[in-house]
C-alpha cells in the first residue's frame, strides 16, 4: 500500500516534513514517495498526512490512480 505523487506537484515541500515514515523526498521534476516506506499513514494517523496538506488537486493518488484530493475539492466555495 502506498500513495504516489504524480505530475502537477508544484514542489511546495508541505508534505515532506509531515510524513511519519520519511517516505517523501525531493526529486526532479517533482517530489516523490518511496513506495516501500509509505504506509498510507494507516498506522499513524486518521488520514494520509501528505494528502491532508497538499495544496494541489489530483497530484497525490492511490494505487488505483484515484486522486485523494479530487478536482474541485480544494477550491474555495464559489
Amino acid at each position: 500500500m502506498a500513495l504516489e505523487i504524480i505530475e502537477g506537484c508544484v514542489n511546495c515541500w508541505a508534505c515532506l516534513p509531515l510524513c511519519p515514515h520519511q517516505a517523501i523526498y525531493e526529486a526532479k521534476p517533482h517530489f516523490l514517495i518511496d513506495a516501500d516506506r509509505c504506509s498510507e499513514c494507516v498506522d499513524a494517523f486518521a488520514t494520509p498526512q501528505c494528502a491532508a496538506i497538499c495544496p494541489v488537486e489530483g497530484v497525490i493518488v492511490d494505487e488505483l490512480g484515484t486522486p485523494l484530493n479530487p478536482r474541485g475539492s480544494l477550491a474555495p466555495p464559489a
Binding site: 515541500w13 508541505a14 491532508a52 496538506i53 474555495p76
Partner: protein
C-alpha cells in the same frame, strides 16, 4: 529626517506624531516604554538607524500549512515576497553558512530573518536549527521571523528561548466570516480543515500567539493584505485590536492579483486596492508612531542592500568554500555598530535642541500649505549620499519632501535582468519595469544616468537629476524641492496620474 516636525498639518491634527517626541507617543500607543525603547533602537524600525544597518532573509522554510486565496503555492509566500518569485531553498546548514559569510563581508549586517518561502513555523526543525546555530556562532545578530500565526502558541517558548527579537504575524482579519473568504483551508491537528472553522482556528491561534509574544516582551509587528470588498473596511478594527494587544506596528500591504500568477483571486478577478485607497487605509492604521513603512525594506536582503550586485558572491558553492574568521567578523560588526550608535546619539542630542526654536517661531495661525509634497527616488549605495549610477542601482530609496522636510519612505527594488525566460514578459523591458515601480516619484536623484533611460524617465514624467551627485541625500532632496517650489511647479497637483 522629518519626524520631528511640529509644524506640519499632520502633526497639528494628530498631536505629536513622532515616536521621539517625549512621552506622548508612548501614551497614545499604549505600549510599555520598554517596548518603545526597543523599537526606537531597532536597526529595522528606528527611523534614523535603519538605513545604516543591513538585514537578510534566508529561505530555509519552504513548507506552508494554510492556503491563502492570494497565493499560488508554486511560488514563494505572497506575504513575504514579490509575486511570482521562487527562492532556492537552503538547508539549515547552508543558511547558517550563508549568513556567516554575508555578515563577515558586510559588517552592517545586523538582523537575520526567516520568512519563508513558506511559513517559518510550518518548518520548525529547519527554522530553529538555523536560529540555534546562529545564536551560538553569531550571537550579536538579531533574529526575526514571519509567520501566518497558526503554530505560534506552540512555538512561542522556543522563540523566546532563542531570543528572537521580533515576530511578524500576517493577520488579515479577526472575523471568521471574513476569513472564510480569504482562507479556503488550513492544516490543523493532522487534518485539513475547511470553511469558517478553518478561519476560527487560525484567528484564535494568531491572537493567542500575539498575546503570548507580547507577554514575553518580544516585539510583534502585524502585516495585513488589503483586499477591497473583503477586508478593507474590517482592517481598521484589526488595527485597533492588535494594537490594544501590544503589536507595535500594523503594516497594510496591497493585494496583488495578476491573473498570470494563477492565484484564486487572480483568476476570479478580485482587484487590488488603488494607490489612493491603500494610502488612506495605511494612514489610518499607521497609528501615532511615525515609523517607516517597513515591508519592502525587510524583503531586501543585505546582499543587495548595499547597492552593488553581490548576490553572486554568496552562492551556495562559494559560501561553502569560504574560510571565515567568525570571531573577528563579529568584532568588526560590534565595533561598527558602536560607532554608528554613537553618531546617532550625537545627532539626536543636537536635534533635541531644535524643537524649542521651531515651536517659538511657529506662527499662531498655521501658514497655508506651501507647495505640495514631492516624492523622489534616490540611487544610493551608502544610504547617505547620492552615489549611484541609475543603471547600476539594484534598489532605490524613496523619499518624500513635504514643506521642505525630507522623509525616507522605503526602499524599492529595481527590476533585475531576469535569468529565466518564461517568467519574464518580453514586452516589458527591465527599464520599463523599473520606471513603473517609480511612477509616483517626480524626480530621480542619481550620480549619472544613460541617455536612453534619461529619455524614458522624462517621458514617464520623472525628471532625472545628476546635479547633486555625491551630495547628502537629505540636503539635495530639500534643495530640489525648494527649486521646484520657486519655479512654481508645486502649486498645482502633479499633471497626470501614471500607472504603467
Amino acid at each position: 529626517m522629518s519626524a520631528l516636525n511640529p509644524a506640519t498639518p499632520i502633526a497639528a491634527s494628530s498631536g505629536c506624531k513622532s515616536s521621539r517626541c517625549g512621552s506622548s507617543a508612548q501614551q497614545m500607543n499604549g505600549l510599555p516604554s520598554a517596548i518603545m525603547q526597543k523599537v526606537q533602537d531597532h536597526p529595522c524600525y528606528s527611523e534614523e538607524a535603519h538605513h545604516h544597518f543591513a538585514r537578510m532573509h534566508v529561505a530555509v522554510a519552504p513548507a506552508c500549512n494554510i492556503q491563502c486565496n492570494y497565493c499560488n503555492r508554486k511560488y514563494d509566500c505572497s506575504n513575504e515576497s514579490r509575486p511570482g518569485v521562487v527562492s532556492e531553498v537552503l538547508t539549515a546548514e547552508q543558511a547558517v553558512q550563508k549568513t556567516l559569510a554575508v555578515a563577515a563581508a558586510i559588517p552592517q549586517m545586523s538582523v537575520l530573518g526567516i520568512a519563508g518561502p513558506g511559513d517559518a513555523l510550518a518548518n520548525p526543525e529547519r527554522t530553529f536549527t538555523t536560529f540555534g546555530e546562529l545564536t551560538r556562532r553569531a550571537p550579536d545578530l538579531k533574529l526575526c521571523l514571519s509567520t501566518n500565526g497558526l503554530m505560534l502558541p506552540k512555538y512561542v517558548d522556543q522563540i523566546a528561548a532563542y531570543k528572537v527579537d521580533h515576530v511578524t504575524i500576517t493577520i488579515n482579519c479577526i472575523d471568521p466570516d471574513i476569513g472564510a473568504q480569504i482562507y479556503p483551508w488550513i492544516f490543523w491537528n493532522h487534518r485539513r480543515v475547511t470553511g469558517r472553522e478553518a478561519s476560527e482556528i487560525l484567528i484564535a491561534q494568531q491572537q493567542k500567539g500575539l498575546e503570548m509574544l507580547v507577554e514575553r516582551g518580544i516585539l510583534v509587528k502585524v502585516n495585513s493584505v488589503m483586499i477591497p470588498g473583503i477586508n478593507d473596511a474590517h482592517l481598521k478594527e484589526v488595527s485597533r485590536v492588535v494594537r490594544a494587544k501590544g503589536a507595535f506596528l500594523h503594516n497594510v500591504m496591497p493585494l496583488i492579483s495578476e491573473a498570470e500568477h494563477g492565484t484564486h483571486f487572480g483568476l476570479t478577478g478580485q482587484r487590488g486596492p488603488t494607490p489612493q485607497e491603500l494610502k488612506a487605509l495605511q494612514d489610518e492604521c499607521a497609528g501615532e508612531m511615525n515609523m517607516m513603512r517597513h515591508c519592502q525594506q525587510c524583503r531586501a536582503d543585505a546582499v543587495g542592500m548595499l547597492g552593488e550586485d553581490r548576490g553572486a558572491e554568496f552562492s551556495i558553492e562559494k559560501v561553502a568554500a569560504m574560510q571565515i574568521d567568525e570571531v573577528a567578523a563579529m568584532q568588526r560588526r560590534v565595533a561598527l555598530r558602536e560607532t554608528i550608535n554613537a553618531e546617532l546619539a550625537a545627532k539626536r542630542a543636537a536635534r533635541h535642541a531644535e524643537p524649542a526654536q521651531v515651536l517659538a517661531l511657529r506662527p499662531a495661525v498655521p501658514p497655508p500649505e506651501l507647495g505640495r509634497a514631492v516624492r523622489m527616488a534616490v540611487a544610493t549605495g551608502s544610504g547617505m549620499l547620492i552615489d549611484q549610477h541609475f543603471g547600476h542601482a539594484r534598489a532605490f530609496s524613496v523619499y518624500e519632501v513635504r514643506e521642505g522636510k525630507v522623509e525616507w519612505l522605503e526602499t524599492r527594488a529595481a527590476a533585475q535582468y531576469c535569468g529565466g525566460a518564461d517568467d519574464c514578459g518580453e514586452t516589458e523591458s527591465t527599464l520599463a519595469r523599473t520606471i513603473a515601480t517609480l511612477a509616483d516619484c517626480e524626480v530621480v536623484l542619481c550620480s549619472r544616468v544613460g541617455i536612453e533611460p534619461w529619455g524614458k524617465l522624462e517621458a514617464a514624467g520623472i525628471r532625472p537629476d545628476v546635479e547633486h551627485a555625491m551630495e547628502s541625500i537629505e540636503a539635495a532632496a530639500a534643495a530640489v524641492w525648494q527649486a521646484m517650489l520657486a519655479a512654481g511647479q508645486l502649486d498645482a497637483p502633479r499633471d497626470a496620474q501614471r500607472r504603467a
